[in-house]
């Protein structure tokens, strides 16, 4: 049976391209991460001392390259694969597809150029504003323009998948939306809703601000608009992961998805709740009444539900595989799982780390419990478990299974691939655990040198030196693991093509049906218009008053532009 590349050569090319760009940003971002780990801990500092902004140029690139470009380029690739494969049809309009691919690429290049310009004094350009680009700090206008072009490209990509589904629907009247397509569509609806915040922030405030068209903006308002987008985006990273966990992981374990209906419920809950929670990133912001914070916290806590349900469904699907493989006992079945298959082990280990990240996320979400850890090293400790492992490692594991389908080549360097997820797991255990602990005694995030003159940290147990060693050691293992992954990808890509009519050489791309299929769920779950309407309503209920409150303090007054340019700061 012919695999993806033989059936859909154009789409396979699109996926190969977006994966390649994604992995390029992964490589750059990983190098940035390594430099930071060495610099922060004082092990090796070669990017300048405290009077040089290079650390923050690295930090900005590490954040933006990994959580925007690595993740989203991978997402558009896997969504293209999912829709095409599952609906068994080509994307409707190749020109449209080429448009969004180009737009996203151009946007990513412009933003990257603005960031990298920060390394050189002779380039009149920089964007040392970190991933959150809080006003009144200003980046070069190219930074914002690039992001705008990139995001509008992703909007068109969503339209491309919707169009493909609409075409499919005309020929398949009365049929349920196939599960992967359902996940793609609900995720994109969530993305459209959540990106409104950052679009308004960038188009109406930051671009005019950076061009000098307006002299001031209200920094609390732009922050609030950022976080309107900023928490939804974490689910945008996570939804392709859930797509793989629900659809591919059960089969890799030798089982079948436990419940298709619950998977649908989970994605609907994310559509409904991922936006009206953003203020939980602003628990300790002045200017926002406590009642609004409490309301957003309540929504946030209920947003735990879809992830907790996912934990059950996905683990049960894996267990189904283990039982079919002869596994027994309460925990003994875990041993029968195919831990030697990196596609399985990567996703399973990613899921395990996500459970740990879930805990620290619950602490972050606890409005007043968060006081202690807000903006400490705890926070990057948390999100290196979530986006940094649940997402990154699942993407890598998924690649091991997908790459043969889109290249028509067998996975190469299998031994290296088999080790890679475990290397990541061990590295992240050290690094993330150390970061969490450091946060508890007050070591801050986002700083080049967390050593101070006037006081010493007082760890409840262990020492600062031991924590630093874990961060550096973990960082080295993670970097090695990343490059091991890239090595496997390159080796595979350079391999020889398996013939389409295969024989023994069949590339596995089968996804078995769920144990409990869509027919077991009410059709209303597929009513995307209804869920979108409710999602919009919830966002209005949650955000209208806080934004009105903040905006009433002035839209274009508050703070003057503060460009993050070396000349200005050292003047």
């Amino acid at each position: 049976m012919a695999t993806f590349i033989d059936r859909y050569p154009f789409e396979a090319k699109v996926v190969r391209y977006t994966f390649a760009v994604s992995f390029l940003f992964l490589a750059l971002g990983a190098i940035g991460g390594m430099i930071q780990a060495l610099h922060r801990t004082g092990y090796l500092r070669f990017i300048g001392d405290i009077t040089d902004g290079s650390y923050y140029t690295v930090l900005t690139s590490h954040g933006v390259f990994l959580v925007i470009f690595f993740t989203v380029f991978f997402l558009v690739g896997i969504f293209t694969w999912a829709v095409t494969k599952e609906l068994d049809r080509e994307l409707g309009n190749p020109r449209l597809t080429k448009y969004w691919v180009t737009s996203m690429t151009v946007g990513a290049i412009l933003t990257s150029v603005a960031i990298i310009g920060g390394f050189s004094d002779s380039v009149p350009m920089s964007a040392d504003v970190l991933f959150t680009f809080y006003a009144p700090m200003g980046a070069h206008v190219l930074f914002y323009l690039g992001l705008t072009i990139f995001i509008t490209g992703s909007w068109v990509a969503g339209y491309d998948w919707f169009k493909t589904w609409w075409d499919w629907k005309k020929e398949n009247e009365g049929k349920r939306i196939p599960l992967m397509t359902f996940m793609v569509l609900t995720t994109m609806l969530m993305w459209y809703l959540g990106t409104i915040g950052v679009a308004v922030e960038v188009l109406f405030f930051l671009i005019p601000f950076s061009l000098g068209l307006v002299s001031e903006v209200n920094p609390l308002l732009t922050r609030t608009l950022f976080w309107f987008f900023g928490h939804m985006v974490v689910y945008f990273w996570l939804m392709p992961v859930y797509l793989l966990w629900y659809n591919v992981l059960p089969k890799l374990a030798g089982g079948r998805l436990f419940s298709d209906p619950l998977a649908r419920v989970v994605f609907i809950l994310f559509l409904l709740l991922s936006v009206p929670v953003g203020i939980h990133h602003q628990y300790v912001d002045p200017g926002i009444p406590e009642g609004f914070k409490f309301m957003m916290m309540t929504n946030t806590m209920f947003l735990l539900l879809p992830s907790l349900l996912t934990a059950f469904t996905v683990v049960a699907s894996i267990e189904h595989g283990a039982r079919q493989r002869g596994g027994t006992g309460y925990f003994g079945w875990l041993r029968t799982l195919p831990w030697g298959n990196p596609a399985f082990s990567g996703m399973a280990l990613a899921g395990l780390m996500f459970a740990a990240g879930g805990f620290s996320g619950m602490i972050n979400a606890g409005m007043n419990i968060n006081y202690l850890v807000h903006n400490t090293f705890w926070v990057p400790g948390h999100f290196h478990l979530t986006v940094g492992t649940a997402v990154a490692l699942t993407f890598m594991a998924g690649t091991y299974w997908l790459l043969p389908q889109i290249t028509g080549k067998r996975l190469a360097a299998k031994k290296a691939a088999a080790v890679q997820p475990f290397l990541w797991f061990v590295g992240m255990t050290f690094m993330s655990n150390a970061m969490h602990r450091a946060g508890l005694f007050g070591m801050p995030r986002r700083t080049s040198e967390p050593q101070y003159e006037g006081f010493d940290y007082e760890p409840a147990f262990g020492t600062v030196a031991e924590i630093d060693a874990q961060v550096v050691g973990g960082g080295i293992l993670l970097t090695l693991s990343t490059f091991l992954f890239l090595y496997v990808v390159v080796r595979t890509w350079m391999g020889t093509r398996v013939s389409a009519d295969g024989g023994d050489e069949i590339i596995d791309d089968e996804i078995p049906p769920a144990l409990s299929g869509p027919e077991d769920s009410p059709r209303v779950l597929d009513n995307l218009k209804l869920w979108t309407a409710i999602a919009i309503l919830l966002v209005i209920l949650a955000y209208a008053l806080p934004i009105a409150h903040i905006a009433s303090q002035g839209l274009y007054e508050g703070s003057e532009y503060f460009p993050m340019l070396l000349e200005v700061l050292t003047a």
Partner: protein, 52 residues
């Protein structure tokens, strides 16, 4: 990567994910214990405390 070695086929009605229930129950207990510990560290230890 067809490394499946299926010994038997189990359908929906004959499958009770008891292992999953055990694992997730364990997770539940860990979450509650850790939450309470965090509370302890934050509000019941000495030192300056925010009150408003």
């Amino acid at each position: 990567m067809g490394t499946e070695s299926r010994e038997r086929r189990i359908d929906h009605d004959e499958f009770d994910p008891i292992g999953t229930l055990a694992l997730i129950g364990l997770y539940f207990v860990i979450l509650v214990v850790m939450w309470v510990l965090m509370w302890q560290v934050e509000f019941l230890d000495g030192g300056p405390t925010v009150v408003g």
